[in-house]
């Protein structure tokens, strides 16, 4: 039987009618109206208590009871809008920040690919890529000949497929407009179980050797962006690297590709690759670029498949061994091992780089939420002491403690649920902001931020957790008040609050401790970023423009490429305001690297050392202002026909020659797929520079002449040093390049920007940890302020007495500040201990300082002490300004 519970107002009306009738009766007995009324009210007794008992005794199921608690709770909260607003907003911020970071963790770490049965997907890859020779493009990739062998031999997987990602240029001339492309084997879409949104997807029949350009499949997002979702897009032509390709279909909206962190725009069959890139990688056994995946056949487990591929390895590598593989490395090639790994989550560089930072940020945001919860708990305790009378009355007239705790917890849950709901909205904005922080000019990060059940579960769990954290202790504490005591005391319900006050102090100590950890972290990460930004690179990156130029489309014969490059350099140098220009196949600190084994003439090859190498042209050292220490630079005299020369850096001389002057000596380069072992004369030595990244020690580097490079690559990076402002320089450079050949493709980037862009992760950690650190410090200060203000109010009497006995304002201020110093000090000590443990886990992310960096710890403690002093000075002043007379009279 369900009945609407009776309303309190109805009950009140009944009580009112009772009193009126009683008044009538008393008046009838001869009392005058007002006396009769007074007596009726007196006889009725405590109306509020009666209402309370009505409330307690109303028949109610748990559901009805909670519903009533909800109504009562929301009324209580509406009555104190300031408290509610502060509580909800601070939770929304805290839960929002946590959820935003969790959304990234979810997208990068937890989510499965949006394909059919992703848990069946496995990747076939090498157990280790450490010993492979040649060019590696992408993580855990294989060569095309290896993929061929695997596809034809393997029995473990159904629907095996391979793919590779690369950028395609949409522009028909001039500056490129890159989109994300995939080359896929014929079985790609069918094996993944994908359906077209429009048209059809690529099939096995599309992927036949020498297919030319059978067509391209575009992603739903690309279709929306470039074609506004027009169905006419299918059948139209798309310009990919200046080849018109017909669009044959659009994928369904959910599918963003196989890589987490990057979305695909266009997919073409792998048979198109040679025509599209201008260089066919399919016959090459030294280019590692294909990712191979498949579905486990029924009855196959991952371990079984993995050991199966291991047993298959010897024959695969025996057959696929490239003829030009460097002889010294053949044994390593034949010993390579294939394994199967789960691939349901796709592949991701982002995952490799950001897993640790993201979990760390989640921990940091979690601590901020804890600090915010401590503040709310403090607020709740303060509220509890003002509601002490209400609660005591209710306890006195028979409300059970459980009943009251339930009602207080419902209030708390209302706050935290509102906070979490708002937080979910805020997270949508914050997570997008986070992703945009990860993106750079050259690397647009795409992460699927659609909310799945995990996000809602996470926010829901946070709502419950925070409610327990900031609501349960105050609720239990405030309902424990011995009944009666409070009713007897004055308006300042102080009973049992000594205990309650102890809890509040403890909360502040915890807040200070946690915020110290966060501020130390913030200082460590900003210090790291600063150290990296000011790290000695060995060259001057300011004022250098990089023009990455590709001229493969010009179809120059191999022997004319060197001359064309020389022509370009001269045109660039002729621009007024250009101080120097040089070219290289490897811009430092760009993430790319080439290395090889080198040994000195007279040494054994077994003594060879792995060194970095760059092919450079004349002007390179001038453009980067790398000083010459001995001998000469590479110059125009070094040509294809002259003897092979090299320039080395100091680190090379130190590590391979014990620091002797290298000029005039000969070094040997181990055989590569394109060149047998060759001897080079060292003609110069230059200052040390960084090569791959800012964090490294100066590595040994060998510079070889671009003009003597046996691979005449139709691409190069030109480094142009100029005092011109960039918006004046780029048009001039553009004019010079198109003047040399109208069909040339180029891309500009500032060298400084290119280096800064390698610090995305460090910048993210520095800025977010600083933001959270500041937030933590402010929250802790608010907590401290609250407790000190409360302390001053509570000790008004004592302060009055002290003043009456002759204590001056300074003594009073000192007294209050001492109290806060004790809290601060305990917090800092606890925080220092805590941060020792906490920072140990971030050591690998730091640069130029240790996790135990004393200056960061002291700096953080100093900052917090300053904030804490400011926060407690206000209440201290208020205490000192008390008038002893009023303070004492007010009982």
């Amino acid at each position: 039987m369900f009945r609407r519970p009776r309303r309190m107002s109805d009950f009140s009306a009944e009580v009112q009618s009772h009193i009126e009738m009683e008044t009538d009766r008393l008046q009838a007995e001869g009392m005058d109206a007002s006396a009769a009324r007074a007596q009726a009210i007196r006889e009725f007794g405590n109306r509020a208590a009666s209402e309370e008992r009505f409330f307690e005794s109303s028949p109610a199921s748990v559901v009805e009871g909670v519903a009533r608690d909800l109504r009562y709770g929301s009324r209580v909260l509406r009555k104190s809008p300031a408290f509610t607003l502060v509580a909800v907003l601070s939770l929304a911020l805290g839960i929002g920040a946590n959820t935003a970071i969790f959304q990234l963790v979810d997208a990068v770490r937890l989510r499965m690919l949006p394909v059919k049965n992703p848990d069946q997907l496995v990747q076939v890859r090498l157990s280790s890529m450490n010993k492979v020779r040649g060019s590696r493009i992408g993580r855990n990739t294989l060569t095309y000949p290896i993929w061929n062998e695997i596809r034809d031999r393997q029995q473990a997987l159904s629907g095996i497929f391979a793919w590779s990602s690369s950028a395609y240029d949409l522009a028909t001339a001039g500056e490129p407009r890159f989109i994300q492309g995939l080359v896929v084997s014929g079985g790609f879409f069918s094996s993944l179980g994908l359906e077209p949104k429009l048209g059809r997807l690529l099939q096995e029949a599309d992927d036949t050797p020498g297919c030319g350009f059978p067509g391209a499949v575009i992603s739903y997002a690309f279709w929306q962006r470039e074609y506004g979702g027009q169905p006419g897009a299918v059948g139209s032509k798309l310009n990919l690297n200046r080849h018109p390709v017909e669009i044959i279909g659009v994928t369904s909206p959910g599918f963003f590709g196989m890589e987490v962190g990057r979305s695909f725009d266009v997919a073409v069959p792998v048979c198109t690759q040679g025509a599209l890139y201008g260089r066919d990688l399919k016959s090459l056994g030294t280019i590692w670029w294909m990712t191979v995946m498949g579905r486990l056949k029924p009855g196959w487990t991952l371990p079984r498949a993995s050991s199966y591929f291991q047993s298959l390895s010897p024959s695969v590598f025996q057959i696929s061994l490239p003829a030009n593989y460097p002889p010294v490395s053949m044994k390593d090639y034949l010993a390579l091992q294939l394994v199967a790994e789960p691939a349901g989550q796709g592949v991701s560089d982002l995952r490799e780089v950001y897993s640790e930072p993201l979990y760390l940020l989640l921990a940091i945001a979690g601590m901020v939420l804890l600090i915010a919860c401590a503040n709310l708990a403090n607020l709740m305790l303060a509220r509890a002491s003002t509601r002490e009378r209400e609660i005591t009355v209710r306890l006195a007239i028979g409300a059970s403690r459980g009943r009251l705790v339930r009602q207080l917890m419902v209030e708390t849950l209302l706050i935290s649920t509102a906070g979490a709901s708002l937080g979910l909205v805020a997270a949508q904005v914050l997570s997008r902001l986070l992703v945009s922080l990860l993106s750079t000019q050259g690397n647009m990060v795409f992460v699927n931020l659609d909310r799945d059940w995990r996000i809602f579960a996470f926010a829901g769990a946070l709502a419950v957790l925070t409610a327990v954290l900031f609501g349960l202790a105050p609720a239990l504490r405030s309902t424990r008040t011995g009944s009666g005591d409070v009713l007897k005391t004055g308006d300042r319900g102080t009973t049992a609050s000594r205990e309650g006050f102890g809890l509040r102090r403890l909360l502040v100590v915890v807040q200070v401790a946690l915020s110290l950890v966060l501020v130390v972290g913030a200082l460590l990460f900003s210090g790291t970023l600063n150290n990296l930004l000011s790290a000695e690179t060995g060259f001057r990156q300011e004022g250098v423009l990089i023009a990455r130029v590709a001229f493969g489309a010009l179809g120059l014969p191999k022997e004319r490429i060197g001359g064309f490059r020389q022509d370009l350099l001269e045109r660039l140098r002729a621009i007024p305001g250009v101080a120097a220009a040089g070219d290289t196949d490897n811009v430092p600190i760009s993430g790319n690297s080439t290395s090889n084994a080198f040994w000195m003439e007279g040494q054994l090859q077994s003594q060879a050392r792995e060194c970095m190498r760059s092919n450079i042209g004349p002007g390179y050292f001038d453009a980067l202002q790398i000083p010459l220490l001995a001998g000469r630079f590479i110059d125009p005299r070094d040509t294809q026909t002259s003897s092979r020369v090299a320039v080395v850096n100091e680190a090379f001389a130190r590590e391979l020659m014990g620091g002797a002057n290298p000029v005039g000596k000969h070094l040997w380069v181990e055989a590569t797929p394109s060149e047998p072992a060759t001897s080079y004369e060292i003609v110069g030595m230059v200052r040390n520079t960084k090569y791959i990244e800012l964090r490294e020690h100066f590595p040994p580097i060998v510079y070889q002449a671009q003009s003597q490079n046996p691979i005449a690559e139709p691409a190069d990076a030109f480094l142009i040093r100029s005092s011109l402002p960039m918006d004046a320089l780029t048009p001039a450079v553009r004019a010079a390049l198109t003047g040399a050949a109208p069909g040339i493709r180029y891309k500009f980037q500032l060298f400084e920007t290119s280096i800064r862009d390698t610090l995305v992760q460090e910048r993210l950690m520095a800025s977010l940890s600083s933001a959270f650190g500041i937030l933590a410090g402010v929250l802790a200060a608010i907590g401290l302020y609250g407790v000190m203000a409360y302390l001053v109010t509570r000790r008004r009497n004592e302060i009055g007495i002290r003043m009456a006995l002759g204590a001056g304002r300074r003594e009073i201020v000192g007294m209050v500040l001492r109290e806060s110093a004790i809290l601060l000090g305990s917090g800092l000590v606890a925080g220092a201990v805590l941060s020792r443990f906490a920072t140990a886990s971030v050591a690998s992310l730091l640069f130029g300082l240790k996790a135990t960096d004393l200056r960061s710890l002291l700096g953080a403690a100093g900052l917090l002490a300053l904030v804490a002093f400011a926060a407690s000075y206000v209440p201290a002043r208020r205490a000192a300004n008390l008038d002893p007379n009023t303070a004492l009279r007010q009982e």
Binding site: S17, M21, F44, S50, F54, S58, P59
Partner: protein, 118 residues
């Protein structure tokens, strides 16, 4: 110096108020104040009904389904909430009256010997 007014009034035992309310309502619908007065009158002013407890008790009984209530008009034209015994309320009254008698008899048996000794 004792007057009639000072005769001892007894606060109701826990649980007995419900029984008395049900009993009072046997004579027809009545509002809260009327119930309180009836109990007082019928007990020769010995039993004092705490008005503050009366309404929660009525609420409890209503919740059990033993009485039902609706708003009406009192003798002197005041709006009042009138309570009425339900079928299950009558059964409950019979049951509780029986229980009460048994308890009184039992308590009596316990108390009698002690009085003999004293």
């Amino acid at each position: 110096m004792s007057t009639r007014d000072e005769k001892e009034r007894i606060a109701l035992l826990q649980g007995t108020l419900d029984l008395l309310i049900l009993r009072t309502l046997v004579f027809g619908p009545e509002h809260g104040l009327g119930i309180a007065r009836a109990i007082q009158r019928q007990s020769d002013d010995v039993l004092l009904v705490d008005h503050g407890s009366l309404y929660p008790a009525l609420q409890r009984l209503e919740g059990q389904g033993w009485i039902k209530a609706k708003w009406g008009v009192s003798d002197n034209n005041r709006r009042a909430r009138f309570y009425e015994l339900t079928r299950s309320g009558r059964l409950q009254l019979t049951h509780e009256t029986g229980q009460w008698r048994k308890m009184v008899a039992a308590i009596g048996r316990v108390l009698e010997p002690g009085e003999m000794e004293g």
